[in-house]
């Protein structure tokens, strides 16, 4: 409610009170930022009052700091202790959803508020928990902030600070200076940092980064231009085979080509060029049934999910990925290790009988799997958490050996199971094609439900089965594809499939 009330005898000095709120996530240093602002204001001849809500809210929860200031005079002004909707001049939000919360609570209004926000995300538990994609839409928040704020400064303040070896409070303080929202010169801000005496140099660097971001905006991210498109590399002989496959993919209908190339790269990286040929053969089978009237949506979808299904997560793949050379480089970068450091690695494996049996030759594996006694034996032998110190030769060699079993992979029980599952899924999905093209596309997309390892994988398979099975219920309805999509989204809501169960009940109620 932003009711505009007529002012009777507006005291001009009331308008001079600068009202500033900081909305932060507990642990981000909102208190430090507030104390900088406060001491600076006092040093600049202002009367200033700050308040905060300390306590349990600061344990990673959303929290708020509030500052009011006005030029010093003979009498003491009366300040409020909390921000009021429609009455905030400067709002600093230290995370994108806190920007949203500030707008939602009415603290950002077009007539007066300078909004300084960090675009980085610190995901709430509810966003992270969903088995699917539960991340809140930052673009919606940005759009709302653009309407709500009088002046808007948005940048990844966290990154700006971390790059300078500091924390977000410094870069936000810099942005506050750069925004010219307070009547103080840049030096006054820097003096406040210097006076605090802790990590001053890094804070000043981050301050400068924030200041520049507010003044000139952040330079368009360069890394996107620099980032190389994914590509394969390897011996010349193999590369020639690869080029043949690429030519085949490029001969496909235009809307399919890009996804087919990505998929092809994935399966060849997973196995080899021959496997890539199998992939393209399968995809051709789908393209043959597709048409340009539908813009080859079915084939593009199939290109994506056939590749995912063919590059399943078996021990061989995991061992291979864990022992590749670029991985080490990536970890060194991520950990910020310098050349004088050593990096030691520990991997967490927990093989169960299922994984061991899946690595056996197909027939043998099937026999062992169906024999509870043998599975129990395998569990006794193998089912145990294993910590592999892969910087040591022993553990590295073990994984290196496992990762090198590609030549044998296609004979494993796991491969047999995966192929059967893939073929059944393709067949079921395409079986409705004649009657309902969009339903067939949705059925292909259900492959997204199969992911994870062990129990999570098993639950995924169950959900996949339930959702695929619902096709029989929906067949013939004009909104079948819509419902299939809804069922899949429901399956991604929670791990136990409660939402899915409810959705299936709804479907049953109307068929």
């Amino acid at each position: 409610m932003n009711m505009v009330l007529p002012q009777k005898t507006p005291d001009a000095r009331v308008g001079q009170i600068i009202k500033l709120a900081v909305m932060a996530v507990g642990g981000q240093g909102g208190g430090v930022l507030t104390s900088w602002i406060e001491s600076m204001a006092r040093a600049q001849g202002y009367v200033c009052q700050a308040t905060s809500v300390a306590g349990v809210a600061q344990r990673t929860g959303a929290t708020i700091y509030y500052v009011e200031m006005t030029p010093k005079s003979e009498l003491e002004p009366v300040f409020a202790l909390a921000p009021a909707g429609g009455d905030v001049d400067i709002l600093i939000a230290s995370e994108m959803m806190e920007v949203g919360r500030a707008v939602m609570r009415g603290f950002v209004t077009p007539d007066r508020t300078v909004l300084i926000g960090s675009t980085h995300r610190s995901l709430a538990v509810s966003e992270k928990m969903a088995p699917g994609d539960g991340i809140a839409d930052a673009d919606e928040v940005r759009a709302a902030a653009e309407i709500a704020a009088q002046q808007l400064i948005l940048a990844d303040m966290d990154k700006l600070a971390v790059e300078q070896g500091s924390v977000i409070s410094s870069s936000l303080f810099g942005a506050l200076a750069g925004a010219d929202a307070l009547p103080f010169p840049r030096e006054a801000f820097e003096d406040a940092i210097k006076a605090s005496g802790k990590g001053v140099e890094a804070s000043l660097r981050a301050f400068a980064a924030g200041y520049d971001a507010a003044r000139h905006g952040v330079a368009a991210p360069e890394q996107e231009a620099v980032k190389p498109a994914p590509a394969l590399q390897g011996p010349a002989k193999e590369m020639r085979k690869w080029e043949g496959l690429v030519a085949r993919a490029q001969a496909m209908p235009a809307p399919v080509q890009e996804m087919a190339l990505h998929g092809l790269m994935k399966v060849v990286d997973f196995q080899n060029c021959a496997y890539g040929t199998v992939y393209l053969d399968r995809l051709d089978g789908v393209v043959a049934q597709d048409d340009s009237a539908h813009d080859f949506l079915l084939s593009a979808t199939a290109a994506k999910y056939i590749a995912t299904a063919m590059a399943y997560d078996d021990i061989i793949r995991v061992a291979d990925l864990k022992t590749r050379q670029p991985r080490m480089e990536r970890i060194w970068n991520e950990m910020g290790a310098k050349s004088a450091n050593l990096v030691e690695l520990t991997e967490f494996f927990h093989p169960r009988a299922e994984e061991v049996a899946s690595l056996m030759p197909a027939k043998m594996g099937a026999a062992w799997e169906s024999n509870p006694k043998r599975m129990a034996l395998l569990n006794r032998l193998f089912n145990k958490g294993r910590r592999l110190r892969t910087h040591t030769l022993r553990s590295f060699l073990m994984l290196h050996f496992l990762g090198g079993l590609k030549g044998y992979r296609l004979q494993t029980r796991r491969h047999q199971v995966e192929v059967a599952h893939l073929e059944a899924w393709l067949r079921d999905s395409l079986s409705v094609l004649k009657d309902d093209y969009t339903l067939a596309v949705e059925l292909l997309k259900n492959r997204r439900l199969v992911k994870g390892y062990s129990d999570t994988h098993a639950r995924g398979l169950t959900k996949f089965g339930t959702v695929m099975g619902a096709a029989a219920l929906l067949k013939g309805r004009t909104d079948a594809a819509d419902w299939m999509n809804r069922l899949r989204e429901a399956a991604l809501q929670d791990p136990d499939g409660k939402t899915l169960e409810g959705a299936i009940q709804t479907v049953r109620s109307f068929v």
Binding site: I135, T346, L393
Partner: protein
């Protein structure tokens, strides 16, 4: 030691006559205590007055110099009981705790104290945890003053007024032989500002001197028939004496013009919000010069009838601004009006809401409604529709997720709840009660362990009804803070005595962590003024618990899981108590990080662990997050068109606690987690060995790469 050190600020407490103190409300209160000759101080920590306890603890040197006794009481009841020193002796004493929950705990001692009456000034400083940022049920402490007949101060929220209230409180207490409660709201505790200081005054009679001349008087003991006399004394002597002191010393204030047909009666603590409302309506200037008369109750109990009558003279409409419910003050003033036969209209919880914090918008709306009804002429023109179309701001309520507080990065309590969750997956859901403390976050997603919390130290007591057998044993949780607060007797003793067959988990993080990391009896830290290092397990055995399991490393999720499973399934009859101990990570990092950084700088070997996720191995099912919720374990979207869902990612705030690896192992999640130990200043031998290893590993990798196609570059 508490998580925030006030060592630097404590120096301000030495300021003398005419100096200007600038800082937080809490610190100002401490300074005012010293200026007013306090003889002993104590209390129990809890937001928003935790810092007051921390300041006192850090100020023990100064307190000692002045001859002031400081006690970190075991509970609010213990703190209130300590005020017994002021019953016979003319010594000023002050204790502090949070309200209303701390007052609940203290109420037994408070009621006895109020019956006995006091000789020396007795001040109870209560941080009223109400409104935004509060972590407790929304109630008021006001009712306690009414039932026990002690006086309640609610000063205007600025440093000069708050510090004056300390002086007024002591004097009022002495003038009326009654304890006085000084109530400060959440934001007043942390409000910053300035006030002019005075010299500190050593107590005229120290506790040390007093004990040389012990006193007793059975007339002050709460036993019949003296207790009947105490009640009469309260209403016949102490109450009138209090009223007299309040009126004569003008503790309540009146602002604004003398003549007006309208007026506002407000709690002192709400004064600034009232003025802000008036400022926004153009009815007050920046210094609080108001056009609407205000009767500001810096004493909210007792209410002074004569003062109120005088304020109402000539008025037709009076608004009562009283935050929280029920509306004790409004009812009381209404009865004054009815009895005096006045015809003025009283407004309060009709134009303002009955419940909830009176925020800026609520105040503005309420005062606008009041003025519209009572004095529309004071609102020039009409409250009309805005002449400019307000831009429509999109509704974000569906987009922005809630962000309740949770376990910190690396918290040692997280793996306890992960272990519990694994047991739940295996054995089914149990009846679980929680307790007060950080571990209460376990009742929130992703763990959702615990359906009720009945009070500090009462977790196991809250499961007492479920002790009559049944399919599955009930589980309850207790923190180390709660254990020593009263859990040892009310919960554990209760279990032993009643031959409970249930399970209790004591979360021992070495501190009273939720309140700011104060030491408790079982803290591992060396504390010069307190006796620490008293193990919980010894106390358990002392009260007769036979089945005790001590877990010294809570990050061992499998051990937590197996121990809890054993407790739930063992044939042993009797209480089963698991003590799960690991240090609060917030405090640990605060202590160890500087030491580590110094060691690295000095060239000593330091091993810094951190976790990571292989993004090409992670499938984005987020099972790990559902067993963690760690702030540093988050998600990121890959730049890969073949992937639909964001994958797990660990950012640089990871402290390498080990939970991710343990959970991945215990719950058989996936092999995408790895731990990287960055070794700073490695030794010569290990550098040489690592060089050899790397050469062999590189050779093997090159040999394999020479034969196969693979994706180029670094997967991120």
């Amino acid at each position: 030691m508490a998580e925030r050190s006030f060592k630097a600020e404590v120096e301000h407490l030495r300021m003398g006559n005419g100096e200007v103190f600038t800082g937080e409300g809490i610190l100002a209160i401490t300074k005012a205590l010293l200026e007013n000759g306090v003889g002993y101080v104590g209390g129990y920590q809890g937001a928003p007055i935790s810092h007051l306890m921390d300041v006192l603890a850090d100020a023990q040197g100064l307190l000692g110099e002045l001859g002031v006794r400081f006690e970190a009481n075991a509970s609010e009841a213990a703190a209130a009981a300590m005020l017994a020193a002021s019953v016979h002796y003319p010594i000023r004493g002050a204790v502090t705790f949070k309200g209303p929950v701390g007052v609940n705990v203290a109420s037994d001692a408070l009621a006895n104290l109020c019956s006995s009456g006091v000789n020396g000034g007795a001040l109870i400083i209560v941080g009223e945890d109400y409104g935004e940022g509060s972590s407790i049920m929304q109630e008021r402490s006001h009712g306690f003053a009414m039932k026990s007949q002690f006086w309640l101060l609610d000063p205007r929220p600025n440093l000069p007024c708050i510090t004056k209230a300390v002086k007024d409180g002591f004097e009022l207490s002495e003038a009326s032989n009654t304890p006085v409660m000084l109530m400060v709201r959440i934001r007043s505790c942390h409000v910053t500002g300035s006030f002019v200081t005075k010299d500190n005054v050593p107590p005229p009679l120290t506790v040390k001197e007093a004990i040389a001349n012990p006193q007793s008087d059975f007339n002050r003991v709460v036993l019949p028939p003296m207790s009947y006399l105490h009640e009469q004394d309260k209403v016949k002597n102490r109450w009138p004496a209090a009223e007299k002191y309040i009126v004569e010393n003008k503790l309540n204030e009146v602002f604004g013009p003398e003549k007006s047909k309208i007026g506002i009666v407000t709690q002192g603590g709400m004064y600034n919000s009232v003025i802000r409302g008036l400022q926004r309506l153009g009815l007050a200037d920046v210094f609080g010069q108001t056009e609407v008369p205000i009767y500001c109750l810096n004493v909210t109990y007792p209410l002074i009838r004569d003062e109120f009558d005088a304020f109402c003279e000539g008025k037709e409409h009076v608004l009562v601004v009283e935050e929280g419910q029920p509306e004790h003050i409004e009812q009381h003033l209404g009865s004054f009006l009815y009895k005096s036969g006045r015809k003025l209209k009283l407004y309060g919880k009709d134009v303002l809401p009955m419940a909830g914090e009176y925020t800026g918008q609520v105040m503005l709306d309420g005062m606008t409604a009041f003025l519209k009804a009572a004095a529309p002429d004071m609102l020039p023109g009409k409250v009309r529709a805005p002449n400019m179309e307000e831009p429509q701001i999109p509704d974000l309520s569906k987009t922005v997720p809630i962000r309740p507080p949770g376990f910190c990065t690396g918290c040692p309590e997280r793996p306890i709840f992960a272990g519990m969750k694994l047991v739940e997956m295996e054995l089914g859901k149990s009846q679980i009660t929680a307790d007060i403390g950080c571990h209460l976050f376990g009742s929130l997603p992703p763990f959702e362990m615990g359906g009720a919390t009945m009070g500090y130290g009462l977790g196991p007591a809250a499961n007492a009804a479920f002790d009559g057998g049944g399919e599955r044993r009930a589980i309850s949780i207790l923190g180390d803070g709660g254990f020593w607060h009263n859990g040892l007797t009310s919960s554990i003793g209760n279990m032993v005595f009643n031959k409970s067959d249930n399970v209790a988990i004591i979360v021992d993080n070495y501190y009273s962590a939720a309140t700011g990391g104060q030491d408790v009896l079982s803290s591992r830290a060396q504390n010069d003024t307190k006796a620490t290092q008293n193990p919980i397990s010894a106390a358990l055995k002392g009260v007769g618990v036979e089945w005790v399991r001590q877990i010294d490393h809570t990050y061992d999720v499998a051990k937590v899981r197996d121990t809890l499973k054993e407790a739930l399934t063992t044939d042993f009859k009797g209480p089963k108590v698991i003590v799960a101990s690991s240090e609060c990570m917030l405090n640990k990092q605060r202590r160890e990080k500087p030491i580590r950084n110094t060691a690295i700088k000095e060239g000593r070997r330091v091993d810094v662990p951190r976790f990571g996720v292989d993004s090409d191995v992670c499938t984005g099912d987020h099972a790990c997050i559902r067993l963690s919720g760690c702030p540093s374990l988050s998600l990121k979207r890959l730049d890969d068109p073949l992937r639909d869902d964001p994958i797990a990612h660990i950012d640089q705030t990871c402290v390498g606690c080990g939970n991710c690896g343990e959970v991945a192992d215990a719950a058989v999640l996936c092999p995408s987690f790895y731990r990287a130990d960055v070794v700073h200043n490695p030794g010569k031998f290990e550098t040489w060995r690592a060089g050899w290893r790397n050469r062999i590993i590189n050779h093997l990798q090159k040999r394999r790469d020479a034969k196969r196609l693979r994706l180029k570059g670094v997967v991120t």
